[in-house]
Symmetry: C2
Subunit: 571 residues, 2 copies
Amino acid sequence: MRTTQYLLSTLKETPSDAEIISHQLMLRAGMIRKLASGLYTWLPTGLRVLRKVEKVVREEMNRAGAIEVSMPVVQPADLWQESGRWDQFGPELLRINDRHSRPFALGPTHEEVITELVRKEVSSYKQLPLNLYQVQTKFRDEVRPRFGVMRAREFLMKDAYSFHLSDECLEKTYQRMFEAYCRIFERLGLEFRPVLADTGSIGGSLSHEFHVLAESGEDAIAFASGSDYAANIEMAEAVAPETERAAPGEEMKLVDTPNAKTIEELVEQFGLAIEKTVKTLFVKATEESEAPLIALMVRGDHELNEVKAEKLANVAVPLTFATEEEIRAAVGAGPGSLGPVDLSLPVVVDRAVAVMSDFGAGANQDDKHYFGINWERDVALPEVADLRSVVEGDPSPDGQGTLSIKRGIEVGHIFQLGTKYSEAMKAGVLNEQGAHQVLNMGCYGVGVSRIVAAAIEQNHDDNGIIWSDGLAPFNVAVLPMNMHKSARVKEVADKLYTGLQDANVDVLFDDRKERPGVMFADMELIGVPHCLVIGERNLDEGVVEYKNRRTGEKQKIAIDEVQSFIQQQLA
Amino acid sequence: MRTTQYLLSTLKETPSDAEIISHQLMLRAGMIRKLASGLYTWLPTGLRVLRKVEKVVREEMNRAGAIEVSMPVVQPADLWQESGRWDQFGPELLRINDRHSRPFALGPTHEEVITELVRKEVSSYKQLPLNLYQVQTKFRDEVRPRFGVMRAREFLMKDAYSFHLSDECLEKTYQRMFEAYCRIFERLGLEFRPVLADTGSIGGSLSHEFHVLAESGEDAIAFASGSDYAANIEMAEAVAPETERAAPGEEMKLVDTPNAKTIEELVEQFGLAIEKTVKTLFVKATEESEAPLIALMVRGDHELNEVKAEKLANVAVPLTFATEEEIRAAVGAGPGSLGPVDLSLPVVVDRAVAVMSDFGAGANQDDKHYFGINWERDVALPEVADLRSVVEGDPSPDGQGTLSIKRGIEVGHIFQLGTKYSEAMKAGVLNEQGAHQVLNMGCYGVGVSRIVAAAIEQNHDDNGIIWSDGLAPFNVAVLPMNMHKSARVKEVADKLYTGLQDANVDVLFDDRKERPGVMFADMELIGVPHCLVIGERNLDEGVVEYKNRRTGEKQKIAIDEVQSFIQQQLA
């Protein structure tokens, strides 16, 4: 490709609305442009990278025995009603009506559509197992799209769905897909980790996310120091403290705390240790519950884990915090003064709270707290559960050392779904015994467009992107210096360009009338791994200069050897 | 690919709701499945063909100098408001609101989005010309989706947009794309014709459609007998009759015609020649017009051409026929008795009507017609225009012979748009003189998914689809006879399959425990061009049987020569 016949569209300035480095560099390198919030056009340079990711994903899916199909973006509501997700799924599911006022949705995922297909096409155990995948445009109406294509509304995803008669068969395919995912991310040159994950709105019994480790990651991942245990913090178990609850040492007393609405203020103003405080959060209960609200309590220095909270009986899903009005109506006090004493609502406390003694908490009266509270003596110990997020230094759930927390970007997610969809949608086959049997399902997603951004988060420097050869939009740049003044430079550059092209190398020939500095800066910005600089002075010696983008290393290569040298680099 | 690890999904019965042969065969061959009206899932066999079309289209676009990008499916309303099409486009534009109630549309075409991109990215004449394309999912909310993927709501399209400073430059790219389109359809083995076309809701000054000729085509195309003139009947000019109007020969008389509401009834009951009758149709006028309705008149045996009618001054677009109430309110008579005499509304008559004499038409009084009407003598000749569709035998507009009419399936459409979008959306650059200049645009579409169906319409027999090698889902089928009983058959079949796979041939190995008849029928149905039958009896002679799907020709090939024979066939 010649730059004069291409849309390079690099930017010198960093756009002010791009927060993370991959978003900034994708804009600056002319890879993407924003059309509207969460909607991006892929420019030629970005699309070239995206297609390379797609190709690797497709090859590994085929190798893993998955078969490619393509389902519509627009999905009829009735299938989502059948699975129950029409009501369960939040406003991320963009619901639309067609010209005849029939309801549809833009597909954020395709469990319903594939289950509908398989229940019609597959009737016998002989057709199983079956693993179908697609690489397709998805839409999620994110409340706050951000970070460019990292959390866009429209994005490219590979989603696969497998169907089985037995758990064993599902587990086997799950393992095969797990390995295929590892190969994908390895081939793309990413530093990644598979981690245990929550199954969320997709559902199922077991699930792993694949995370690209990066500071800017939106997810926190807990890693064990003594094993390869790794889990999304949403999922990582905070194990019960081994210490028993100490005996009461203080009397309980009611204290005026007019200026202490938060744990921080309480700690600061009254000299309490934060580990001796309890945070109380009210969430809505399910409609079937006796009380409208449920109180959840974690230690002052801990954070409520919302995913864990959603799994409690009687807690309404999605988790909804009570408003101040609702709290006042139920308790008679505001959010700054809540606690377990004299509370006539259901309470669930975290495991760490259950072993506390002599602690402080709101008195359920405005501007008052109790200090020196002790379970059983002052108030009965309520239901105990794992309610908090793990923190750095917590013991690992597998008993092997302690946990450390790192940030990750989720680029893949696989699920053992079991019969969630097949049961709701009556998808079954006749088994070997001639009896009807509901199908076992797995599903497997890769965020194809997100991988492009994640790769940049891991591979960049001050000058721009550093692509691996597998992902680079162009593998080689041919940079003639002042070609428009030197017939010799033009001739050598043309010849090198044509030779590399004929050898099927993705090569960019910068034939613009630009200063060398501009050309170098652009090629570093878009991250071309191998640069060939053709200048008068070097030609006197019969060489061109080669520069490696990643190592910065420069060397002179005899003109006749350039092509074989480059092919060696790319091999 | 082994059939036991594939989703063949062939059907024995023809689905009752499939009207045309390609739709029937795509369902029976397991290529597509309907998800909802106008929404189809592509099964593995269909997707393989679709991807082959895509590949050819992409290669020819790249060869023509177009650069690939990818724009979102979901488009913000404000761009369509800027171009004026938010209001002009009918309900085929599916309008949606996101969770924040902001208006968007599912993209049926991308002129607005690409113009928005180019006005931001391109600022100098040095960056021109520029030709950008994408292969992308489009949505049109068809009022009556039909014929499977031929007229679906969601479909795959290649759309390209070019930008220029001068008409000459646009014309040059238009010509280059015209030739690229010809190469695409040639490479895909289609019998096609480029034809002059109307520019419709896309707009512009010149346009060609590319039609695959087939009985089931929705479009009628007029071809000249003496030249290569071809035009969509929407567009083909009905030239003015060379004959002059004959002098009046009859008196005009008012006739009671209580049972003649249609031309056919009038002709039958009163023995009038149909060429001596005039059909009057009332359509709505634009809001700026003096009268609410306009009367359009064509000869009794001619059809009003709605596309031509829409181009008349004062006619409201889209063309809307007046209701009986509106006609009665304006004329005082119903639709069965309308004509030019005593009519106080604007009238436009077809060129053929202008030369009629002694003709019959409604009297604008219920149940009455005038016979023997003559222009000028009885009523002033109104405005004359080309209003009718050409018919078989009409003179060709280029003067070279007469027209014949054939059916075609539109698979491509290219436009010289001019400045329609760039002017409305203020897309311009600085030209060589440093002055601001509005861009000239072209746009170029290929119906990628429709091509698959069109190819089948042209290439099938009673047994199923007949693919060219370029389009076939699999090029070779390896069919072992009773493999599960013969180790020798299995061994030879395995070896042939592996050898062909290693040579990168798309080969399907039918390893099902099925009767030979079932295997042959399935392979003929899905249209595999080359079949290799491996049976005990032939192996005794050291041969396998080869069958060519298109010619039906069979021959015996020595086992050792099969691979090179197949590679020759595919070369």
